[in-house]
Subunit: 209 residues, 3 copies
Amino acid sequence: MDTLAAAFTWLDYAAVAVFGATGAMAAAQRKHDMVTFAFFAAVTGVGGGTMRDLLIGAPVFWVGRPDYLIACMLAALAVWTFGTGQARLKILLWLDALGMAAYSVVGAAKAISLGAPPISAVIMGVLTACFGGIVRDVLAHEPSVLLRRELYVSCALVGAGIYVILHTFGMQDLWTGVVGFAAAFLVRAAAIVWGWTLPGFPGRGKQRT
Amino acid sequence: MDTLAAAFTWLDYAAVAVFGATGAMAAAQRKHDMVTFAFFAAVTGVGGGTMRDLLIGAPVFWVGRPDYLIACMLAALAVWTFGTGQARLKILLWLDALGMAAYSVVGAAKAISLGAPPISAVIMGVLTACFGGIVRDVLAHEPSVLLRRELYVSCALVGAGIYVILHTFGMQDLWTGVVGFAAAFLVRAAAIVWGWTLPGFPGRGKQRT
Amino acid sequence: MDTLAAAFTWLDYAAVAVFGATGAMAAAQRKHDMVTFAFFAAVTGVGGGTMRDLLIGAPVFWVGRPDYLIACMLAALAVWTFGTGQARLKILLWLDALGMAAYSVVGAAKAISLGAPPISAVIMGVLTACFGGIVRDVLAHEPSVLLRRELYVSCALVGAGIYVILHTFGMQDLWTGVVGFAAAFLVRAAAIVWGWTLPGFPGRGKQRT
C-alpha cells in the first residue's frame, strides 16, 4: 500500500505540473511576462483541485503544502525555457490527457473519502479534471478549449464514473483507480487521434465553434 | 408549516431545474454535445446557490443531496428533446423570471437563518438569483445577459430586499416569502413586457451593449 | 499598537472603496444602470479578499460586517456623481495603486496570522490585490487590465514578498507592513510613470495585447 500511496502522490504532483504547463502555454501565446506566466501556471495547475476542496468543504490542498505551487513554477520555467514549438504542443496535448485522466480519479477518490455520495463524487472528479483549464481559458480571454474540441469533459466523466462505480461495488482501490485512469486516458487518446466527438445538439443554433 | 416547508422545497428544485434549462439553452445555441449540455445545466442550475453557501460558510447544498444535480440533468434532457424553438425560448424567459424570484427569497432566507446581518442577506439573495446566469454567460463566452437586458439584477434586489425588510419587522415567514417572491416576479414581468430599464450612467462612455 | 490597528482598519476600508470605484468605472464605460454599478463596485471591491478568505478557510470578511459593502456603495455613488472624466481616471489609477499596495500586505498578513506557510501567504497577498480586478474584467467582458498593462501582478508580488520575508526574519509588524506597502506602491508608480514592463515570452506567439 505504501507504494500505491507514493504512486498517487507522484501522480498528483505530475498532474498539477502538467496542467500548470498548459497554463503557461496559454500565457506564452500572448507573449506575457514571467510573473503572468507563473500566475497562469498556478491558476491552471491547482484550479480544479481548489474548486473540489471548496465544494466538499476540505482545506484547500495547496495552501498548507506550497510544494504544489513550486511544481507549477517549475512547469512555467520549463515552458519559458523550452518554448512552445509544434512538437512541444503535441507532447503537451498528451501530457494533458494523462493529467486529466489522473485528476478525474484523484478528484472522485478524495470526494468519496470525505463522505460525498456517488453522483457528487463523479462530479467532483470531472470538476477537478476540467475546472483549471476552464479558468485558464476565461482568464486568457479565449473560447474555452473544453467546449470547442473533441471529447474532453466526457473523458473525465468516464474516468470518474468508472472509478466510483467500481468502488461502490467494493472493488479494491488500487484497481479501481487504475481502471478509471486507463479508461479516461484511452477515450481521450481516441478523441485526439481519430477526432472522436459526441453528436452535437440536433436543433437549430449558431455554427459550433 | 409542513405545507410551507414542502412548498419551499419544491420551489427550490423547480428553480434549480429552470436555471439548468437556461444553461442547456446556452449550450444548444452553440450545438454542443450531450455532456457539455449537462455540464452547462449543472453549473447554471446550482451556481448561484453554491456561491451563496461558500460565502456564508454553509455546506454546499447539492454536494450531499445529488437530487439537485438530477433535476439539472432532467432539465438538460428536456431541452435536448424539445428543442429551442422561438415559443420555447419565450416559455423559458418566463420560467427564468419565476426561478429568479424564487431564488432571491430562498437565498436571503437561508442567509438569515444562518445568522447573516440584513444587508449581507440581501446580497446573498441577489447572488443566488443571478450568479448561475453570470457563470453561464462567462463560460459560453457571451456578453452577460444580466448586463445587457432590461431589469434583472434589480428585480432580485427588490425580492430579497422586501423579504429581509418584512422579516426584520417580524412579519410571519410564509407571507414575507410570498410578498418578496411576488414583487420580484412582477417587476421582472414588467421589464419583459414593457422593456423596463433603469436610467444608464449619464456621463460619457461606449455605447451600452 | 492601537494606532496601528486603527490605521490598518482604515486602510482596509479605503482599499475596498478604491477597488469598488474601479468596478463602478468599468460599469460606467458601458453606461450601465445604478444597480449594475453597485454590483460591479461590490464584486470588485470585496472580490480579492473574498477569494483569500475562502482559500484559507476563514469566514468571508464582509458577510458578517456589511460596512464593507456600504463602502463599495459609497464609491459607486461617487463615480456616478462625479463622472469618469480624464482627470478622474488618472486619480483613480493612482488610488488603485495605493489600494493594490495596501491589499498585497493586508492579504499576506491575514494569511500568516491564520497559519499559512510563507509561500502561500505571498500568493494570498497577490490574489487579494489582483483578484477583484480580474473578476471585474471578466464580468465586463473586457480583456483583463491586469494582463495587458505595465507591471501590476508583479508589484503585488513585490509587496507581499517583502512583507513575508521581513516577517519571517522577525522584523516588527508595523515596519514590515510599511516597507512592503511602500515597495509595492513605488514599483507600481514607476510602471505607471515610465511604463515599466518585464520582458515578454521570447518565443513565437500572437502579438501581445
